[in-house]
């Protein structure tokens, strides 16, 4: 496989224009799919909104002093008591939907990426150790992974959040922290299993043997030699899992677990709007629904393309 890759890259260098770094080659491969480019733009937009949300949003939907129940259920385009226009209407508590969605996307994306990165670091370390040590350690770790994966993710997260009570005077970010921990717990096993698979293959290769025979420390072999060569599948799993985490967080919020009533994420906004579905107040659930769909679809499109580009077996 490596031989094939080397052959290909040398081919690329000999026929390519100028100096072609692996990153440039990756970019040109990625750009072949226009849908995936749209996905990437979508992810960019979402990131931008999430990063600059407080400056973009017309009001602060989480500041109870700024939200008034007297503004509740305004149709899109109506004017609120403060004089501002609610472009996407307001929900049952009088929050401006546009602001609430921007803040909701911040939470969703933050929780998705945050839990993804922690789960990735944790899962990868465990998976690498399993592959590198082999034997009993490997068996033990992989059985734990098996058990973990045999439980539906939503069930594990639900139980965790139900058991883990918020204590008096816990700071506000504690609720988000709880959700992130729950999502890490349900996700790490995917990373561990993925990286173990590719690490087992890489481990038998000459360069690892060479590194070991230079008497480098286990740690150095693991993280400086083995890990970088196993990254491709992890990046793909990471993208897909982030989308998964976002939808899981939305589901938990929809079920009423997780964030406080006054700080709705997208899932909670949809749940609130669900009550108004029969009365024709479509905007309370439809707009956050579209926002959630847009986020998850963009990330999935990028993840899909990454899988195609980074998978050597699919390369022409």
């Amino acid at each position: 496989m490596t031989a094939l890759n080397e052959e290909q890259s040398s081919l690329a260098v000999s026929t390519g224009v100028g100096v072609e770094t692996p990153f440039k080659r990756f970019l040109s491969d990625y750009k072949e799919s226009s849908v995936a480019v749209l996905g990437a733009i979508g992810v960019g937009v979402v990131m931008f909104i999430a990063l600059f949300g407080p400056w973009l949003a017309p009001t602060d939907p989480y500041d109870l002093a700024q939200v008034s129940v007297l503004d509740s259920r305004l149709t899109p385009g109506e004017t609120m008591m403060s004089g501002a226009t609610a472009w996407l209407g307001t929900d049952g508590a009088g929050r401006d939907m546009l602001s609430a969605m921007i803040y909701g996307m911040r939470i969703s994306l933050g929780v998705g990426i945050g839990s993804g990165i922690i789960a990735l670091m944790f899962g990868c370390s465990i998976g690498l150790i399993a592959a590198y040590c082999g034997g009993r350690v490997d068996t033990l770790i992989m059985r734990v992974v098996d058990i973990q994966l045999s439980f539906p993710a939503i069930l594990v997260a639900l139980i965790l959040l139900a058991v883990w009570k918020v204590k008096p005077n816990d700071p506000g970010y504690y609720a988000i922290f709880k959700i992130i921990v729950a999502l890490v717990v349900v996700q790490w096993a995917y990373y561990a299993r993925t990286i173990r698979g590719s690490a087992l293959v890489e481990r038998r290769k000459e360069y690892v043997e060479a590194a070991s025979s230079l008497a480098l420390s286990d740690q150095r072999v693991l993280f400086r030699h083995l890990l970088p060569n196993c990254l491709a599948p992890i990046i793909v799993v990471g993208a897909i899992q982030t989308a998964h985490a976002i939808s899981l967080e939305a589901t938990l919020s929809f079920l009423g677990l997780g964030l406080p009533q006054t700080e709705p994420s997208l899932g909670k906004l949809i749940a609130n709007g669900f009550e108004y579905v029969m009365s024709g107040k479509y905007w309370i659930s439809v707009f956050p629904g579209i926002a959630l769909l847009f986020m998850i679809m963009s990330i999935n499109l990028v993840g899909d393309r990454l899988r195609d580009v980074l998978n050597p077996r699919l390369q022409k």
Binding site: D63, A65, A93, M278
Partner: protein, 538 residues
């Protein structure tokens, strides 16, 4: 009282006569599934409504909570401490056995000694001694005069003393809760027989042909379907899957009003939605400074602070914007028309400037922080009410966090989740429906000093305590004269709410039922959804 009783009975008989002549089935979509079919397992609205159709009570409430005789034909006090009940003759249980005074005594015994239930009927059986005079005459004795005897007896359902169960002989008379849930022991004297209960799906009842009594039997077969999600219940009615639904969501009332195929019926309930404030602890867990740090004084112990909080709440705005007009602002424990109300107590007016002045007088002019806890699936729009209160208090200078949770988690934490079984929270949103249909029930449970051994203050989660209030309630409970008792109850309310602000009343719930065109439901103040209050419209 007697005239009212007759009127109530007449109303029931008239509805019975106008019932349909043909065989008819009906399907009713209800929000809350009962927790058991055992009449003494759980003193809970959905249970009492459902089981009351299968089991009879000595006396019962009509839809306006007026008392009429059900298994008792007549009743009167024969001396200061004894009530005599004449029982209806020729009444049979669904298993064919005869109804006599023995069954009443047996039922009280099982209710009084019930173990393992979610909440108990002991508050209604306590201190009452039953004595059989003959098969159809019963004396009930108390230590002191007890004018509320008939009201208390509207709660305890009567089962057959010949019922057999599969439980341990020394627990609950050998009859287990599951024997009622699967039909083994579910034999009452009510107008409807129990057919089956598919958990999470439906309960099916069937007309009891041998029924003798005042309740109408408009339907041959009644199916209660449990549809918890609000929009789904409305959708089921519109699609014709069910003939009636209860708890119509306030957001859908306008749309349904315009629909020619649907008829709505609406009525004020006996339930007040209100706030408890921690008046016991010096350091209350959810009272903080404005930044959220613990403080070592509890401002809620000061009546002026409680009054100020009440004045920061814009009740008309909650009724208009959260309840969509379907509720009545509250200033005391029961809406107009009920017995024992204060004639002077009005809902506190929305007055932020006045509230801030009061706070400053109490030494809390800089404000403090609060967390309001509430259920999100128990009362109409409960989570939204909590959020609106959070907004109003925050805007008025008391930054308030809002935490809501499902009722099965919420109530046990709110009542006994703290250390040593104390209430866990500091500021809670709850509702109380008066089971006796007058003011002594909420006064006793919510505002009397918490003392489980006396059955007082059982749901007093703020631990309000005032000896003056306690003594007035005690006097009222032993006063036979209606006018005097009403005055005592009114005075107790005036002190406990008007002066002490022991709780903060928000609004009285208004309940809405929706039927398909051609049916008519008499809205019940006790919020129950029953087959015998549903009749074909003429």
């Amino acid at each position: 009282m007697k005239v009212f009783r007759r009127l109530g009975l007449a109303a029931v008989v008239v509805t019975a006569l106008t019932g349909p002549a043909m065989a008819a089935d009906v399907t009713i979509g209800i929000r809350s599934e009962p927790s058991s079919m055992d009449p003494y397992f759980h003193n809970l609205g959905p249970n009492n409504g459902m089981i009351g159709q299968v089991f009879g009570r000595l006396v019962d409430f009509d839809s306006n909570q007026q008392i009429f005789g059900r298994l008792a034909e007549s009743w009167k006090p024969i001396n200061d401490t004894t009530w005599e009940f004449k029982l209806r003759k020729g009444v049979k249980f669904h298993d064919g056995s005869d109804f006599t005074a023995d069954d009443v005594i047996y039922s009280f015994k099982r209710a009084d000694g019930y173990t393992g239930g979610n909440s108990s009927f002991r508050i209604y059986t306590k201190g009452k001694t039953l004595m059989k005079i003959d098969d159809h005459t019963l004396h009930i004795m108390t230590e002191a005069p007890y004018p509320l005897m008939p009201n208390d007896l509207t709660t305890v359902m009567i089962m057959s003393s010949e019922a057999k169960g599969t439980g341990k002989p020394d627990v609950n008379m050998g009859i287990d809760t599951r024997d009622f849930n699967d039909g083994t022991a579910t034999f009452g004297t009510g107008p409807y027989k129990f057919v089956e209960w598919k958990k999470g799906d439906r309960i099916v009842l069937e007309k009891f042909d041998g029924y003798k009594g005042p309740m109408p039997q408009p339907w041959d077969k009644v199916t209660f379907k449990f549809i918890k999600a609000e929009p789904a219940r409305v959708a089921a009615l519109l699609a014709g899957d069910v003939d009636m639904i209860d708890n119509v969501p306030t957001s859908d009332i306008d749309t349904l009003k315009k629909n020619a195929n649907v008829a709505l019926s609406q009525g004020v309930s006996n339930r007040v939605i209100y706030l408890h404030l921690d008046q016991q602890r010096d350091q209350s867990p959810f009272v903080t400074d404005k930044a959220g740090n613990p403080i070592d004084k509890n401002p809620l112990k000061d009546a002026r602070v409680r009054k100020a909080i009440s004045m920061m709440i814009n009740r008309p705005a909650i009724v208009e914007r959260v309840m969509e007009g379907v509720a009545i602002p509250a200033g005391q424990l029961l809406p107009a028309g009920f017995f024992g109300l204060s004639p002077t107590l009005k809902p506190d007016a929305y007055d932020v400037a006045g509230a801030k002045k009061l706070l400053a007088e109490a030494g809390w002019g800089d404000g403090f922080g609060l967390t309001i806890h509430g259920p999100n699936d128990r009362y109409i729009n409960d989570a939204k009410i909590a959020e609106a209160i959070g907004q109003m208090l925050t805007a008025a200078g008391i930054p308030t966090k809002v935490v809501t949770m499902p009722k099965n988690v919420y109530f046990s934490r709110a009542s006994k989740g703290g250390p040593d079984g104390t209430p866990e929270f500091s500021f809670v949103l709850v509702g109380w429906g008066s089971g006796t249909g007058e003011a002594s029930s909420p006064l006793k449970s919510l505002l009397a000093t918490h003392d489980p051994s006396k059955g007082m203050g059982a749901s007093n989660r703020g631990r309000h305590s005032d000896p003056k209030v306690d003594s007035l309630i005690g006097q009222a409970l032993a006063t036979v004269d209606d006018t005097k008792r009403a005055a005592l109850l009114a005075e107790a309310t005036d002190i406990a709410i008007g002066e002490n602000q022991g709780i903060i009343p928000l609004h009285y719930q208004v309940n809405t039922w929706a039927t398909r065109k051609g049916l008519k439901y008499s809205p019940r103040t006790d919020e129950r959804t029953t087959a015998y209050d549903l009749v074909p419209a003429k």
